[in-house]
Amino acid sequence: MSLISSISRPGPSTSLSRLLKPQFSLESRRYAAGEAGPVGKAGYLQKLGSAQKSKMRKKLPMYKALPASQLDRPILVSNKPQFDPPVFTPAAIKAATAVGQPFVINPKDNDPMKCFGIPRKLWLEFKLLSRPYTVVREVTKDIIQLLEDAKQSSSANTRVVFTGRPGCGKSFLLLQAVESCAQQNWVVIYIPRAVDLVNSTTSYAYDIRTQTYLQPWYSFQTIQRMLTVNKEAFTKIKLVEDLVLEKSVLAKGTTLDQVIEAALAERGVSVAQAPVYLEAVMKALEAQTQYPVILAIDDMQTLYGKTAYRDPHFQAIHSYHLSLPRMLMEFASGKRSFQKGAVLGAISASQTTHPIPLELRDALDLHNENYRIASPYEKRDKVLVEYAKGLKNMAVPEKLTLAEAIGVFEIWKEQQVFGREKFFYDEAFMGKYTESGGNARDFVWKGLLATLDT
């Protein structure tokens, strides 16, 4: 049914079973089996136990559409009219009439959206929509133009962070930028959920040589996904220095796809060495000039905040002592840079567990009425201040313009999620636009999808 059912895996080591609570499937049986109970009356007692457990469960399971094969009941068969907006391509966006027009993203097999995943809120939205639709805004055009200009210069010159109130469209904008770059043969590195790098969900190990904590599994997954997405480019980009591994050496000049495939071939051994592979790949990308590189990081503020990782003495580990956040911050701060390319980031303002740290707020000059008043005498981490230096703030407009809102409305209207025959669509649109104050997320989630006057 859904074209993006395969997109659901956002980052390394995050399988669906971790994200989603077990539903009516084999998994729930597996969970239930773990509980103790007399063997004879297992069925009855297990039922009781599982009921208790479900009471304790706080979160609702995430919405998952049934597969199309199971939707054979007549009541579930929809006679939806086909909604075929134009395909999202860089050329189509540039048209004068593109603003406010809905587009559909047609992901290829090696699309960054499919391989790296997408932020959770977008994932859910696309699930409901059944296809990834998106609307081009004025700011999309600005970003496309910015990337066009960045193509020829160092990534140190283009380090932009999207900011704005929750739900104003920062993550969508980042996804649009990534998509357009992927279609223009850029090398794409997309981190859709940077929070997974710091919330202690992936394995880590101390490395004496670099004196940092390596994240081998995430690094391994990253290089694997980078290869899938940028296969064509990686056949042409070569290592700039010898890659010295534990038992072998990959000579300078080996192409990146060979390097990563070598790592994939000996998965058992190479996972532990994945950070070394990743480092070598990144160095090669830094040195090359054939392809522009885009490094896009969503939830960027989590990298600059506190991590949930602990050392053996239960002291908190700083994010700059973790290999992957450190590498990303080095690119973001311009300490390292691609010869051609850009670093884009988006903060996620609705992440209450990871508020925007003061160091990042200072760098982006986020001191307005939307934020807590910060004293100049408040303590700042000097290292993080260095890592946040030079980031440019790009404020995403708080409000959708009327044309953009019409585009969004059209997508959901065509999905028939609300309305009926002789429905006052004009009034519904104006009402929801007024109620949401033009905020994109509120317009959809608390307006079109939450309304009772359908």
Partner: protein, 338 residues
């Protein structure tokens, strides 16, 4: 029977004091009284008494001369106007005619004001006495007005206006709704309330971008060019925050925009509101009423419709009080055997 009671009330109290008093008076009456002033003789100390001035008013020795003078005048006015009306066959009036007289709502000065006027403290019976006469005069004025006696009417009005309260307008308009007045910029200012919340709402029509300039008159006449009307949007700021930030619940937001939807005025006005007190439901309800009143102020034709759908109505429901013996308003304590 009644007259008997009255007589009984009028008889002076008899007691020891009364007897003593009667005794003293009888003792004085025995000596012959000579007025020293009239006789021109000096008193035994040799001091010549000056003659006292004659009081200006016959009511001088009542100690409330001014009051009784006025009262006499009013009574005289009553007598005269009654005689006048009787002479013109306007009195006595049959009941149906009296009932059909146009109302003339008087508001008399209150006791305190009248006390200042009369320079004496007015007790309730005295005040009532004045008011009774004034009401009678007011009735005569009504009759004179309807009966076509302008001279009498003018005179009565001149007399009665002296006793009218200075706060007459304010008192008469009490309890009546004040009409909303748009200010110089076309803003309305209305108040809405619900539960313990109140909302002050300012509304201004959205400025329409001029559409007529872009269209040529020929096209308009022929109707060939499809008229592309500019669409305006409504912005609602609550306590200087956008609506979606102030009210996270969709139900609250929909409640606020309801009057705009009912009036078909989405995109017609911009709204600024200050809300105080209560919770989200109360505040959104207060905003609903404030906005509804504002729309009616801008578009009076909608008044009846808004009243019928009860948008402009102050919802009178409040928290039900807690009762003794109950845990809350209705909740009972659980029953325990012992």
């Amino acid at each position: 029977m009644n007259s008997l009671i009255q007589n009984a009330l009028r008889t002076p109290p008899r007691g020891a004091y009364a007897c003593a008093r009667s005794l003293t008076t009888t003792a004085r009456q025995q000596a012959e009284y000579v007025n020293p002033r009239l006789s021109g003789q000096s008193n035994p100390e040799g001091r010549i008494e000056r003659p006292k001035p004659i009081p200006t008013s016959p009511n001088f020795y009542t100690t409330r001369a001014l009051f009784y003078d006025q009262l006499t005048q009013l009574e005289r006015a009553v007598g005269r106007s009654e005689a006048f009306l009787r002479h013109h066959h306007l009195l006595p009036l049959p009941d149906f005619a009296r009932a059909s007289l146009p109302p003339l709502q008087p508001v008399w000065k209150d006791p305190l004001e009248m006390s200042n006027e009369f320079k004496t403290k007015l007790s309730t019976p005295r005040y009532r006495k004045v008011v009774k006469i004034l009401n009678q005069l007011n009735d005569f004025q009504r009759i004179a007005k309807t009966g076509g006696c302008p001279q009498l009417e003018d005179r009565l009005r001149a007399i009665l206006s002296m006793y009218e309260s200075s706060k007459k307008e304010a008192l008469l308009s009490r309890g009546k709704r004040k009409p909303v007045v748009l200010d110089e910029y076309g803003r309305s200012y209305t108040l809405g309330k619900r539960k313990t919340s109140s909302a002050r709402v300012w509304m201004i029509p959205v400025q329409q971008p001029d559409a007529s300039q872009s269209e040529t008159p020929e096209a308009l006449l022929l109707g060939t060019e499809k008229q592309n009307l500019p669409v305006t949007t409504t912005t609602i700021l609550v306590n200087n925050m956008p609506l979606n930030q102030f009210f996270p619940l969709p139900a609250d937001r929909e409640r606020i925009t309801r009057p705009l939807k009912v009036a078909g005025a989405l995109g017609k006005y911009n709204v600024f509101a200050l809300v105080r007190g209560g919770g989200t439901t109360g505040q959104s309800g207060a905003l609903l009423q404030g906005i509804a009143k504002g729309i009616v102020a801008h578009d009076p034709a909608l008044e009846t419709m808004f009243r019928r759908v009860k948008l402009t109505r102050r919802d009178p429901r409040m928290v039900e009080r807690k009762k003794t013996g109950l845990a809350k308003a209705r909740k009972r304590y659980s029953w325990v055997k012992r």
